[in-house]
């Protein structure tokens, strides 16, 4: 080995500790997991839980994609409607909102900051159990309450009318409660992250030396804490309305169903940024580490996360351009929507610039990062069509929207999650996976994803509405390509699961810093010891300072 490890740099070479028992083996038995306050174990539990949710919701999607291969519905309309409701609700509330912050964020935020744990370890464990409770309540509400409303639960359709004309809001209240409990769990994670970032950074770790994944997680945490209470207000209003029979959302009592959309999106739009900001954080890490180059525009990327977090609260009305809200409101929301596009564009430009004159390794994490640049750029650009008022009037509630948000949520967040999992897997579990196997996965996912969702842009622009169990046969060719794509995508993801589980068992032992990264999580052994570091690290440089960077060129340049 010619390159020095990060640990040797930090400890001047004399800190080589003998291998110590890692966090996975420090305690044994299922009880030690269920009562753990170790942020790493909680992160792993979240990872297993959220990925199970992803698996279930993904299989549901494959079932109705198979149904959509023909214009008629073999499943029947009622079952089809319940399936897409479950798919959306599980994907959004159970999987994608907590997936990155609660799984990878929990595991790596303290490690990256050079601290032993998050600020409130017990609260952290509690957030996991609150999440489990929330998912039980939400699933019970949807399944037992026969909800077929889509994940957005729009009134008055979600107020199941009783035969005597009165409303039955029990399923809606229960579903909102489920979403709120899940949101509450993310508040606990958010509070933990905010305090940890403010109070527990290692000596020398100034704000400008924090890895960008930490910045992104911090911005996300702020949104989680501020946005979720709106769900509680919605819940309270729903209950007040039904106990006192005052019209708030229910038109039968003189309420305004569009008001429910305002409340719903006031939470759910910032939630979109809860889903995507941590993904931006991952890409900022992986693109820099695997090209051995200092991230381009550190401050711009860090501050654009904060800017996005703030503006994200002010754009919810773009979900309602055709709902009958006033034109003035529509204009304002359209303008603010374009305002949020600018910091997002800055990030993409900065990532591409990071590749310039790097030393780029084409490993699985980097290939997923490049895939992210491809798919997320399409997701972002198609958002411009939807932000433009006149064009949105045509595209609203069509497959174009479905394609757009899958390019952002899946092409953005899920692909970034895959980049992150491949980047940090050796650290988390101490094992290397097979790069050849991973490359097959990347190719399948890339082809499958684009086949599935690119066709849906054409479907939408040509006039295919979303949430249709049956459709006009003219749309069939695109639906067939999309469905075949989804099976390829499913196969790619299943393959990924298989080789990663194989690697857990038979993988080669991972070194402390397999990628030659410079942030603190790589300065401890793989997997880390229970208390993360043998001694508190001292930080005197930024996290993107690689030995490969040609310092002489900088001097010659100036």
């Amino acid at each position: 080995m010619t390159t020095t490890t990060l640990e040797e740099q930090i400890h001047g070479g004399h800190g080589a500790h003998p291998e110590e028992v890692d966090y996975l083996r420090a305690k044994r038995g299922i009880w030690s997991w269920m009562t753990t306050v170790d942020h790493k174990r909680i992160g792993v539990m979240y990872m297993v839980g959220t990925l199970l949710g992803f698996l279930v919701a993904g299989v549901l999607a494959l079932i109705f994609r198979a149904d959509l291969m023909t214009p008629d519905s073999e499943l029947g309309r009622e079952l089809y409607n319940k399936l897409f409701t479950l798919h959306g609700a599980i994907m959004v509330f159970i999987f994608i909102i907590p997936a990155i912050p609660a799984a990878l964020g929990n595991f790596f935020l303290p490690l990256m900051l050079g601290t032993k744990d998050v600020a409130f370890p017990r609260l952290n464990l509690m957030s996991f159990y609150v999440w489990v409770l929330g998912l039980i309540v939400l699933l019970a509400a949807i399944i037992a309450g026969n909800l077929d409303t889509g994940w957005t639960f729009y009134t008055p359709y979600s107020i199941k009318s009783n035969a005597d004309g009165s409303g039955n809001i029990a399923p809606l209240v229960l579903a909102t409660t489920g979403a709120f409990i899940l949101g509450f769990s993310s508040i606990l994670t958010g509070v933990n992250f905010i305090v940890t970032v403010h109070k527990m950074r290692a000596p020398g770790m100034t704000w400008n030396r924090m890895p960008l994944f930490v910045w992104a997680s911090y911005a996300t945490a702020v949104i989680q804490v501020l946005a979720t209470p709106v769900l509680a207000i919605t819940l309270l209003l729903l209950m007040l309305e039904n106990v006192f029979q005052i019209g708030i959302f229910n038109p039968a009592w003189g309420g305004d169903p569009v008001l429910f959309q305002h409340f719903f999106w006031f939470y759910s739009h910032p939630a979109v940024y809860i889903m995507i900001l941590p993904a931006f954080g991952i890409i900022s890490e992986t693109i820099s580490v695997h090209s051995k180059k200092h991230i381009f525009g550190y401050k711009a990327i860090a501050l654009s996360s904060v800017a996005i977090a703030i503006i994200s609260f002010l754009v919810w009305g773009h979900h309602m351009f055709v709902s009958g809200q006033s034109e003035f409101a529509a204009a304002l929301f359209s303008f603010l929507t374009f305002a949020v596009a600018v910091p997002t564009a800055i990030k993409v430009f900065s990532w591409v610039a990071t590749l310039y004159k790097g030393v780029i390794t084409w490993n699985a994490s980097m290939l997923y990062t490049l895939t992210f640049l491809f798919t997320f750029t399409i997701g972002g650009l198609t958002g411009i069509f939807l932000g433009a008022l006149s064009v949105d009037i045509h595209f609203h509630d069509s497959y174009f929207v479905v394609a757009h948000f899958h390019y952002v949520m899946m092409g953005g967040t899920v692909i970034a999650l895959l980049a992150g999992i491949h980047h940090w897997f050796p650290k988390m579990f101490g094992k290397m996976y097979n790069e050849g196997h991973a490359r097959i996965g990347v190719i399948l996912v890339f082809i499958g994803f684009n086949m599935t969702f690119f066709t849906q842009f054409m479907l939408g622009s040509q006039g295919m509405p979303r949430r249709y169990a049956e459709y006009d046969p003219v749309f069939q060719p695109y639906h067939v390509i999309s469905s075949i794509g989804s099976f390829i995508l499913g196969a790619g993801l299943l393959w990924t699961l298989v080789y990663l589980v194989m690697a857990l068992k038979n993988g080669k032992k991972a070194p402390a810093n397999p990628w030659g990264a410079a942030s603190l999580e790589w300065a401890t052994q793989s997997p880390p010891i229970e208390h993360n570091f043998h001694e508190t690290p001292h930080v005197d440089t930024d996290p993107y300072n690689y030995p490969e960077i040609d310092r002489t060129a900088a001097k010659a340049h100036h």
Binding site: Y154, A163, D164, K299, A345, F349, V352, F374, A388, I393
Partner: protein, 334 residues
Amino acid sequence: MTGLFFLADASGKGFWMPPAASEYAEHVDALFMFILVLSVLFFVLLMGLTGYFAVKYKASPTNTRSSPVSHNFKLEFLWSAIPTVLLVVIFAWGFRDFTSLSATPADALELRVVGQKWNWTVSYPKLDRECTSNSSAKGENVVDFYVPVDRPFTVQLSSQDVLHSFWIPAFRVKRDAVPNRYTGYTVTPTRPGIYPVFCAEYCGDSHSQMRGTVHVLTKEEWEKDFLGTDKCKLDPKAPDYKPKLFAKYGCNTCHSVAAGRAVIVGPGLHGIYGKEEPTSAGSVKVDDDYIRESIEYPSKKIVTGFEGKNMPSFKGRVTEQELAALIDYIKSLQ
């Protein structure tokens, strides 16, 4: 490569959009093309650079040192400012065309559109006509309605029950139909033809069957084939008045009238008159009174096996004369 495929196909006729059949559609398509061209340019630029860098700077025995460049103020300023300017242009363009939807000239043809689960009723208040939907054997509910070319028409939308959305892709317009409130838009058809209409806001089981067809007629056709005929006239003396009424209230979206009594949502009605049916309140003979009660108070005696289907009450919505006509119609299904 993908970028080129994108551009080549996008320029192909009709690759993205259905034929543009209204003034508004032409405006939408122009802005769509503007954004598309910009998007393709930016996408090709970004992916071209990404691919070029990824290949050119791949780690190799000759490429072991990376550049120390970590920021460049001029570059960062440019790539913030240029998108900002472009986005402001797109915003203003989109807003300008959007406002045209709510400008209603005095000579506009007035249409009143009511959505209910799961059909549309399109009426012409000044022409005393009302187009109701026809249902096919497959359960599609399609309303046919007619507008003249080159004359603006304005749609006043409302809903009997839940949210719906009245989308005419060829005109590029849609707006939600909301209970308790009117919404709407004004649009000018420019090309004669027959174009599909969809419900775009999810509204339950048969959402995908809530459809329509708009016939854009030339001036002569409008005079001769619409105004000169009794299309869409609801005439109580006409032979098809009763089935039309049955469709107008959406009865057909849940109750089949064909022999065999296939179940759509509720019980099929063919041959039901005079039969004994098991219900939640014991066995009941289906007569005029029971049908009347089932229309006005559907939950009183629910036919066994259909509990929880929650048929809405039509009390207050159906007049005495219409009730009689509906009962006669069900009686005739033998």
